[in-house]
Symmetry: C2
Subunit: 295 residues, 2 copies
């Protein structure tokens, strides 16, 4: 951290925000985490929401990543194109007039054949690679609301694909005819792996999801297993899409929430793949420290 | 109609109910349609909900089909097993003590490899076949909240598969990150067929759905086309599953809501298949008339 003596870094997503105060050595000296994600804040409420962070964590450069830089966030930071490394993100930082604050750009891929966007995961994935937590070339999965499968080449994001796995599971759990069946916690046991295996071996997700109801009604799926089986079906479909992006022998890294990377590691095992897991918080802080060095 | 001089037939689903008063000749002499589906009625409110129909349409045997016979309806009518014809439905009628009323059973398939259930569509599909509106042997699709693909053999349901197409589209439209993009009406034009073609040619539905957002953000998908494209993706995946049930040369019939059968007919055209369409109301009334003859 050459020029920045103190920094507040924020991973500000759709449903949550996590803020960290870093000292001049890049150590976390204070933190805040709450449910004040972008969608919970009125369009004209972002100044106040930023002030809450200032009030809690103090002065210093405010570095914001995630959906906060989207058209639904505070100030829109344009996307940078693939291939995108940390230098690309640094060059694309959007400094906000009158505030000691900058927003990390999202990354897009936009070709005749492919259109995709990410905001927030890029800091984690590029940070993990630059800090040596994962290989600089390989396949990375960041599981979540919209899982991201990233092809890294030489420490830069070469290409990526988003899959709506987490959001679809949440929709089914909250609002669908399966709702009452999906409230048990999801663990990577036999039911989860049965769902994964089914989606890996055949392309019938939207029918297989209905079997959760039919098997439940007919007494063939225990109430405590239904959520894991349904999650497994969605994760299996996710893997099938993600694994198709890379060569057979690419190393696979999982970066993100430890509960989710654990589920995906088990699912990858079902597909005969090994993987390494990196905590998303550790990866985010690594990315932020490296961005600060480049300022 | 040998023994029944007057009948009130009700197609009572999850979200809607449609009731028809039939005279001794089986002609519709009065009708009622409203949004009082099973899920809108309290568990102890079904007597009152039935009385509303009696009050509007008068006396006679009340013949009820659909989710009204489920564990969330008025009185549960056990499922009958496949193969199931109109005789099977008739033998499984659940007469309700103290009321001049009977509930048509649902149909289930429950083997080591398959578990599935339907309630309501069986009257339409078997009615259409027995009345000569569709072939007695072939593949029938009843598109909807939970689309049903039925293999008919000799006028009986031999096997079937449910696909959550309509429900998933409704969830995405009402509650997802795509919500704001999905409010245009869906017509079987170029965007719809592009979605159908994509899902027919590759198994990446949960990723392709996210491209609706990415392409929208990047200006590559017009707001008025997004709903049709997303619907096409789901319908294409539905077709892929349904078509795998039958031999290549089976005739394909579509029974149900005319807007939906129109969409599916266009989608089947994209898959190189011809199909015939039958209005679900006409099919339901045909099924009811034939059941009444068997009483």
């Amino acid at each position: 951290m050459a020029k920045v003596s103190r920094c507040i870094a924020v991973d500000w997503g759709t449903t949550n925000r996590r803020a960290y105060a870093l000292n001049a050595q890049g150590e976390v000296v204070d933190r805040l985490a709450d449910g004040r994600g972008v969608l919970s804040i009125e369009r004209n409420g972002f100044h106040a929401a930023v002030d809450e962070i200032r009030f809690a964590l103090g002065d210093g450069l405010l570095l914001l990543a995630g959906m906060i830089g989207s058209n639904r966030g505070w100030v829109e930071a344009p996307y940078v194109d693939c291939p995108a490394g940390l230098d690309t993100l640094c060059a694309g930082l959007k400094f906000i007039d009158g505030s000691d604050a900058a927003i990390v750009p999202g990354v897009r891929i936009f070709t005749k054949w492919q259109a995709d966007v990410m905001r927030g995961e890029e800091v984690q994935v590029l940070g993990a690679a630059a800090a040596g937590l994962i290989p600089e070339t390989g396949l990375v999965c960041h599981p979540g609301t919209h899982s991201k499968w990233v092809l890294l080449g030489g420490g830069a994001i070469g290409s990526f694909r988003s899959v709506m796995t987490g959001e679809l599971f949440a929709l089914l759990k909250k609002h669908s005819i399966l709702s009452e069946q999906l409230h048990a916690p999801v663990s990577p046991g036999a039911s989860f792996l049965e769902g994964v295996g089914r989606s890996l071996s055949r392309c019938e997700l939207t029918a297989d999801l209905f079997t959760v109801r039919a098997r439940g009604l007919l007494g063939e799926l225990a109430p405590e297993d239904a959520a894991a089986f349904a999650s497994g079906l969605l994760v299996g479909a996710d893997l099938r899409i993600g694994l198709a992006l890379a060569e057979e022998d690419h190393p696979i890294a999982l970066v993100g929430d430890p509960h989710l990377t654990g589920l995906y590691a088990a699912a990858l095992g079902e597909a005969g793949k090994t993987s390494t897991e990196v905590d998303g918080e550790q990866a985010f802080l690594a990315g932020i420290r490296l961005l600060l060095e480049k300022l």
